[in-house]
């Protein structure tokens, strides 16, 4: 059963290849169905491999499938292989599962788009790259997937490249991510320099030999990998690309910019946990960056009016939670939140997409309202996602967030405090969104008349319902009642071993912490009710310009990076390029041309001249050897 591992990435790759060759001929909707089928088949293959792993003994659940040797150069030998273990298969399961649902949703959402087949081509390529990232058995292959998902993200953000905002958002994502990729590459060089290999598993692999790294090297590697993670997972200070990435089609936001790609950074840190375990200092950096990002992004989310931008900042904030967990040594809590977040955030994005769809591409929440009567299915699903993210039991988000906060409490009370304030803000801004969209006056009637909002087709509704169900019961993966209900923790334990911090607080404290979190969540919701339903406070006063503009971070970056950058570019373009480089190039070019024109006159076409040239060459060579023999 484990031998089917190669099928997991191969299926979406086959889908990509088929769409590349026949995409245009298949057209709508068959290209969409093809992509959906391959992604779903990949999910089935993953499930088969998962079953194979479950069938093995607990400490032997690791399978390295060697595929082929990519290249050999000196002592560097790059193998292409897949590593199926508890961590990678968990990731692959939700990537393919959520991916398949979002493919299905896209079949309806992208209806009527001019580049319908191309969209699915990119989507399949993305799933393939993401699976390579997750299942790779070496850093280099992970990096290949890492760059692959980055490229797909770029293609898909600028999918509607006719819009200048979409084109520049794609560029921004790409450039910002390069900063992080730079860190990833440097980390790989360091690892290879120190250990001479880039393979993860096996007796000679990086994970088994991490102990040989010196403390300084381990810290440097951990921080550089974290820099990569900061770029890909949109943490401070490199988060700025993610809100702009909402220019892409909504299924893309759900799949790439909420559920899967942006969690790659968290996955990477979990993968290298033996290295992180050597360096508590780096772990503290991770935890603090995560916590501050969580709070920072939550404050901005409170003042956004674009339905997708709220969710984007919310994603950044929730990713911050995951890094907080990883930094506190609670890897399982991080993974747990990653999975539940994938369920409810994908759900929220897809439901938001249905709203946008129903209102004919309206994204401003100030021009929505009262939609619960018109879109009951979407409304019901959105409520499930809302309660999950707000941390209301028994929804999935409550359990995973509670797990993180309990670990943070044990690690450092200040981190816990930041986390709990973020939880309050999360409940508030999500309630604000729900009330603005589904309650209140029907403000969409003010604009041009598109008729009444309509419910989405079944291809869009079905994924919503499935994800709503998962958002409700997803917490069951890891219930903190006793050792036997912590399924995810038991399953993942061999990956982390003793580096996983045991939660050592009493169950009374646990209950108290959970109670506090729920109470703050309820306060957040209650406050939103007071503001947006009862109208006790003027919302304008709660949304100052500084928050609407995201603390002016974009403007700050523009001032310190863009302006000098522009000046440098202008200098390079108009002084260095035209004068120095063009001068040199044109000089060489005319030299070559003149030289060539002179030389070609030698080529007379007469055999006697050619024979003379051979003879002359022979004489020159003889002259040389004569000189050599004489001397």
């Amino acid at each position: 059963m484990l031998d089917a591992t190669w099928l997991i990435p191969a299926l979406p790759l086959a889908g990509f290849a088929l769409l590349l060759l026949f995409g245009k001929r298949l057209g709508e909707p068959w290209s969409g169905w093809l992509a959906t089928t391959t992604c779903f088949a990949a999910f089935v293959a993953t499930a088969v491999v998962f079953a194979g792993l479950v069938g093995r003994a607990g400490d032997n659940r690791q399978f390295d499938q060697h595929l082929f040797t990519w290249f050999k150069a000196g002592s560097l030998k790059v193998e292409v292989g897949l590593l199926a273990d508890q961590l990678s298969i968990t990731m692959a399961l939700f990537v393919t599962g959520v991916g398949a649902l979002i493919h299905l949703y896209s079949v309806g959402y992208m209806h009527g788009d001019d580049r319908y087949p191309k969209f699915f081509l990119y989507l399949n390529l993305f799933v393939f790259s993401m699976l390579m990232l997750v299942l790779a058995d070496s850093f280099l292959l992970t990096f290949l997937g890492w760059e692959g998902v980055g490229a797909c993200s770029y293609f898909l953000i600028s999918f509607w490249f006719e819009r200048p905002t979409a084109a520049s958002a794609g560029k921004k994502a790409f450039v910002t991510n390069r900063v992080g990729d730079f860190g990833f590459m440097l980390a790989m060089f360091l690892i290879f320099g120190a250990l001479g290999t880039l393979q993860y598993a096996g007796p000679g692999g990086v994970l088994a030999n991490a102990g040989h790294l010196s403390h300084t090297t381990a810290t440097a590697i951990a921080l550089l990998l974290f820099l990569g993670a900061v770029g890909k997972s949109a943490q401070l200070p490199l988060y700025v690309w993610l809100p702009d990435a909402m220019e892409g089609p909504t299924p893309v936001s759900a799949l790439i910019h909420a559920a899967t790609m942006v969690t790659a950074g968290v996955y990477l840190l979990c993968r290298v946990n033996p290295i992180l375990g050597l360096t508590p200092g780096a772990l503290d950096v991770v935890a603090w960056v995560g916590a501050i990002t969580a709070l920072f992004a939550a404050t901005i989310a409170c003042a956004q009016n674009d339905i997708k931008r709220v969710l984007a900042y919310s994603t950044i904030s929730q990713l911050g939670y995951m890094f907080l967990a990883v930094g506190s040594g609670a890897y399982v809590a991080g993974i747990f939140h990653m999975v539940t977040h994938a369920f409810f955030k994908a759900l929220l994005f897809l439901a938001a997409g249905a709203v946008i769809h129903g209102l004919h591409d309206e994204q401003d929440m100030k021009r929505m309202g009262g939609l619960r009567k018109y879109m009951p299915v979407t409304f019901g699903c959105f409520i499930a996602g809302w309660l999950a993210i707000a941390g209301v039991p028994p929804f999935a988000g409550f359990w995973s967030k509670d797990d993180i906060l309990a670990n943070a409490w044990q690690h450092n009370h200040a981190l816990w405090f930041i986390g709990i304030v973020t939880a309050l803000l999360t409940a508030y801004y999500m309630s604000r969104q729900v009330f603005l969209v589904f309650w209140g006056e029907e403000r969409w009637r003010d604009g041009e008349d598109h008729g009444e909002p309509h419910e989405a087709p079944w291809t869009m509704a079905l994924p919503l319902i499935v994800l709503a169900g998962l958002s409700l019961v997803g917490g069951g993966l890891n219930l903190p009642f006793n050792k036997h209900t912590e399924l995810l923790a038991n399953w993942l334990h061999p990956v982390f071993g003793d580096r996983l911090h045991e939660l050592g607080i009493s169950s009374a404290s646990k209950w108290a912490l959970a109670g506090t979190a729920v109470a703050l969540g309820v306060i957040g919701i209650g406050f939103a009710v007071a503001v947006f339903i009862r109208g006790r406070v003027d919302p304008e006063r709660l949304e100052p310009a500084v928050l609407q503009h995201g603390w002016y971070v974009d403007d700050l970056y523009a001032a310190i990076i863009e302006t000098p950058g522009r000046l440098l570019a202008a200098f390079s373009a108009f002084v260095v390029d035209t004068k120095v480089i063009d001068g040199a190039v044109n000089g060489v070019a005319s030299l070559v041309r003149n030289g060539g024109d002179r030389l070609r006159r030698v080529q007379t076409g007469y055999v006697r001249n050619y024979a003379l040239a051979v003879a002359a060459g022979a004489v020159l060579i003889l002259g040389y050897v004569a000189a050599r023999a004489g001397g």
Binding site: W70, K72, Q603, Y610, A611, A613, V614, A618
Partner: protein
Amino acid sequence: MPLELPRVEWATILPETILVVGAMLILLGGALLRRRLPAWVWTVASIIIAAGAMVSAWDLWRRVSHNHQGGAHTAIANAVVVDGFSVYFALLTCGAVILAALMADSYLRRERLNAPEFHVLMLLSASGALLMAAANDLIVIFLGLEVLSIALYVLAGFAQRRAVSREAAMKYFVLGAFSSAIFLYGVALAYGATGSTNLGEIAAFLRASVSTHAVLLGAFAFLIVGLGFKIAAVPFHMWTPDVYQGSPTPVTGFMAAVAKAAGFAALLRIFFSTFGTHRLDWQPLIWALAVLSILVGSVLAVVQTDVKRMLAYSSISHAGYILIGLQAATVRGLAGSLFYLLAYTFMVLGSFGIVTLVARDGDARTGLDAYRGLGQRRPGLALVFTVLLLAQAGVPLTSGFLAKFYVISAAVEAHSYALAIIAMLAAVIAAFFYLRVIVVMYMAGDEADTADADPIRVPFGAGLSLAVSVVATVIIGTILAGPAFDFARHASILRL
């Protein structure tokens, strides 16, 4: 006195034998059969013969590489050597024959030329190339050289209705005879200096005596001139543009691939292996030839307006790059040269294949103008040509990049920094004329040629040949880079 005849181990020269016997059978068939058979029959026969030779060479390869040194051996009174090196060239040559035969098939029909004779000459010429690579004696090398060349002289003039073809054959023949004579004089001097024409015995003699005799240096000089002509190195290159341009285009491709490879086979074996002990004497000469070939080839290619002629100059500069590996005089350099030849064979056969198709009836439309707007008219063909040209320019993800990389890194390892820098700078110049063709194909809009009554057709055989060339160029540059280089490195283990 009874003459003692050497024992002939047929198995060791089986690939050559298959080619020669096959050629004879085709000749007989063509002469004896009353009814004229369709041209494709001869193409298929030729491919089967070349493939047969390839299979027997592969069998030798297995035996040779079984244990590196023990598997290689000499045979037939030490006149022939079977080692990785000789078998590598046998495989390369037979591959080139198959690709050229596929390409020639439609060409011969288009130009209404006799098919059987063409294939006979090509197979005979290839057998000469195999013999040159397998020879362990200067006289046998000369024999192979003549078998290769005489068949090629005729092939160059095969389109006998066209004056340029006859002119090309004449020039090639006169100059080729001239250079053969020089080569033979070098053989005589080598015999005078060492007392033998057998490469093994020469090497043994040179190992025993360290001092360099003037006569030996003379032998170096004349052998370099003679073989420098075959590989078209500057200043012995003057025939190349005229002959490449005038010959039937499939012949040009075959000549550029096989004659150059055979010339290098002899040059590499004689100088790297036999004269290896005296490398300090010949390295400067090779250095000069390499620099001149790279620079003159690139600079003159820039000013050409005829694509066929431009490719002729580009093949001169490729010869310069291959010489870099010899100049390094290390195993890495030799492996680099061999890898370069592998990559070059596919690039050059594919490129001249495109020229064959674009030239159309009369093999005449080879100017840059004929390529105007090819990107719109035949996007597939233009894409293939683009890949092949980028490979020749040495763009990464193609075999051409790795080929340049390996020889230049060998030069760096051998501390020939100046040569490495010149080679890299010349690659920039060379990029210009490759890119110019690409620009013309895609960016120059055309009015006149679109409405051409004579569209470019891609027959099946030619298409297959192009597909193989371009796929090989890409995969040798990417996923099969490791195995391909291993192949070349195994071949670089010579039997002294």
